[in-house]
Amino acid sequence: MKTLQELEAIRQKTLDRISMRKEDKEVAVRIVIGMATCGIAAGARPVMATFMEEIERRHLHSVNLTQTGCIGMCRLEPIVDVFTPDGGKVTYVNVTPEKVRMIVADHVVNGHPVSEYTIGAVDAQA
């Protein structure tokens, strides 16, 4: 059973980490997921959950997950925007949990966008 003591331990651990984090200048990557009906029906929730798992597993504490609504390209959902500290923005379309693992490994961690999953690549095919 999950207990409040367990939550208290998480709090303590996080506090310790936050106080250490202040020293190094980590820069934030922002990830935005479309969560309207079109996105949810197409699988936005498992996509979001996979981002969360990868962030936790790889201790990517400077990555920020947020949501947006429908941007009018419903057939391309789930749609994910990745904003990097250099001012770059890459839009990924028809995202799946497998694609999320690649996007995190190549783009978020190593800085190389996965071009075959981007909106440009998919539009060129259509």
Partner: protein, 185 residues
Amino acid sequence: MRDWSLHLLDLMENSLRAASTRVELSLALSQDGALDIILRDDGFGMDRDFASLATDPFTTTRTTRKVGLGLSLAQHNAELTGGYLELLSEPGCGTRVHICILTSHIDCLPLGDLAQTMASLILLNHDKTDFTLDMSSPMGSEHFSTKVIKEVLGDEVALNEPEVITYIKDLLSEQSQTVFGGILL
């Protein structure tokens, strides 16, 4: 949608778009298999005329497309089981969606992963909105509130820390098993 937990995620997204600071979800299963789902928010609401049209797919305040499917799809799936969806709203006060579904009906969608629905919403909206989840059935009842979690965490630790979200997800999985395990799950 594949299951009710996805419908509920979608309907709570409506609440968030209406700038709610409180979103309260409750699911009560009775002995005969009727599941009453009540979603309350304190968002900006709708006037009566608009609310009476809101379950129509051609009613939406979205500007990116001409259809709004969330409410109409949920209503359709409730009616397939012999149940219904009822919408009450008050401009400036909030909205209440009541969905009644008959879980014994062959066309009833599965409940799905409520814990993942709540964890996703909390992860993405913890700074603006408090969430509660109440579940009950003949097997028992459980209560969850982000306020309780916030009290333990204090000001320095945010709810969207990955470890906290995982904790919340596991807690809610346990709670839903306790209440619905063996019946709906």
